[in-house]
Amino acid sequence: MRTAAALRSEIEAKLQNRIPAALTPKHRELQQSIPCGISNIDLLQAFPRGTLVEICGLPSTGRTGLLHALLAQTTSGGEAAAVIDVSDSFDPVSATQSGVVLSELLWVRCGLLSNQRRSLSAFDQALRAADLLLQSGGFGILTLDMGNVLTRDARKIPLATWFRFRRAVEETQTLFLVLEQEPHASSSAAVVLDLSQSGIGVQETQDTEKPQHIDGDRLIETLHTRAEVVRGQARKPVRSDRTNTMFSTRLQAYR
């Protein structure tokens, strides 16, 4: 009785002239990961070009700070980047403070339905915009920001759509980044980075034992985040052990 391996070898040998290595999975060369300037995160090599990467987390977990860091590294190198903003929440002021070069950034603000003919929801607009920009090509980072989209809505995206996005960025120099509350792309995502809030740093500047509030008696200084690589096909096909790291972002620039 022939084994599966022997059968496979036999089929491949017969098809060798027409389809070389017909049943052997194609080896993919991993492309370089885009640095974000946060040393702990850069060690994870979590943002390889030509892949779909999901950054997941609840609000106030540092997702957008990480996105701005990536955009800053890309745009300051003269590379174009795009943000498809489902809930129109991008803040150019804080992006500039993080070092994002706004002239290299394309911002697509979904959601306004001023024209009655336009019946698409912000969510559908964003998916169509992603398709258009992926076809256009040439962007270093293409971000689909669904950070404020409810999980029940995000689940409605069919797996075929995620697969299409993944295929569109394969063998390109584009990193397709998805910001959301929970992962949805399943096996189409090369990396899933889960962020959670680990603490908030507060500086007390006055005597806080008094019950009366005094202006400026405290300053919310830092947002501490714990990052965990939930899925990392970029490093190994299957990873049972997860990689954790910590990083912090500061709020001082605002006050």
């Binding site: 957008t64 700070g65 803040d91 256009s136 947002l223 620039a253 605002y254």
Partner: protein, 501 residues
Amino acid sequence: MLFACVYVPNFIAQAAARLDPVVAASPFAVVAGTPPQVRVVALNAKAKNKRLWIGMTKTEAEASTGTQILERSIKLEASAHGALLDCTSRFSPHCEDVADDTLILDVSELSKLLGTPTQIAKSIRAQARNLSLYIRVGIAGNIDSAIYAARTTKGISILPFGKEAEFLKDAPLDILNLSPKILETLTRWGIRTFGQLGTLPELSLSERLGQEGLRLQQLVRGQSFRTLSPTSAPVSFEEGTDFDYPVEDPESLAFVFHRLLEQLTIRLTARALAAGQLHLSLELDLAVDDVKATERLFTRTLKLPVPTVDTKLLLKLLQLDLEAHSPGAPVLKVALRAEPMRPRIVQEGIFVPKGPEPQRLEVTLARLRKLVGEDRVGSPELIDRHLPSPFRMVKFAPGAQLVKSSVASCRQAALRIFRPNAPARVENVHGAPHTVAFDGVRYRVTQASGPWRRSGEWWTQDRWGRDEWDLVLTAQDDRRLLVRAYRDLLTRQWYIDGEYD
């Protein structure tokens, strides 16, 4: 020296039907004049076969079934003449504009590039065919002989040097543009061809017709010494067409746009130029019901990221622009004008990151504008004004500005703005927020930092002022949220500006 004359026979008819192949393929008559004296001024061959003639009235021409009647259009004739100039400028910069239908160009040095005079003439004719013009070409050693050769031939005529008189001997005297008095005299003498006039004794001719007679004889003998005076007319790349009936569906204009753009790009290419901007003018019919437009003239300008002669790209951009900005009324006339620019040739750097391809990006941006709205796609640009969120949207043009690398060394937390700001209910205790409720969820304030007063534009109608707080909110499920809240100083209402993330 060798000169080529390019002559467009039946210029008025060719100009009228140049941009409409359907009309050109059927019998048509071009009419002009003020009613009731509107008469036929040009016909095509098929109309002549139907026994129509130049000079008949419009009413008589309309009686012929299957014949299209076209109004004479000076604009179309100017466009055809411009196309003819573009055609010849591809071959020689030394070009004299003799008449609307006649151009002379110096082809002395072209033999090394294009071959024999016959090959040169064939190349010129082929180029003219691309511009929907049927031309005749005459080549001779002097300008006048070249003109007469072009006017007498049915295709290409090459006159050998010194044998011009022999080749033109059968040419009729009509093409000399003689004064009626001289023509009458010569006709009375029985002189009807170049050959007959050339053989008359010079002295006798001088006695009867004076110096003009001698000049005419030199012309028919091919002894002209006229020099070429090159003209440099202002170049205008404009093509247009009129419709017989108003076109209601803007999508059906695509066929017309394609034809006009094709002509424009061929003309631009002939001069080694490209379109930097495209101006579209539509004349609308406001005399129908349910018209949204108020102006008779509808204009749009497309600014292209890089000069281009890609017809498909230009057509797509025009279509997308018209879909986003509907004229709002049936269209009577279409005109397209291209701003000529030198094509941009850029050498890509080896170490420079490859950006989006400009032409492709422009189409994508047009599609995105149609999808989400005109002013909701682009790059944000900070403005120097005292606003809560001081930015404006500008056109996305990657690589247009010199990028200064200034990545912040200390990582900043980002703010996600709620647009519009979420109204909140806030309870204060000892002057600081204690509980906050927004979006249907009630939070306990565990940390509050503030207030931070910000205001601006108090010198205008758009004055604003707010006391801002950074709040750490804790929900019932212990989920913590870091938000920026503010109390509007004008309305005394509380809002959540955004969340730190």
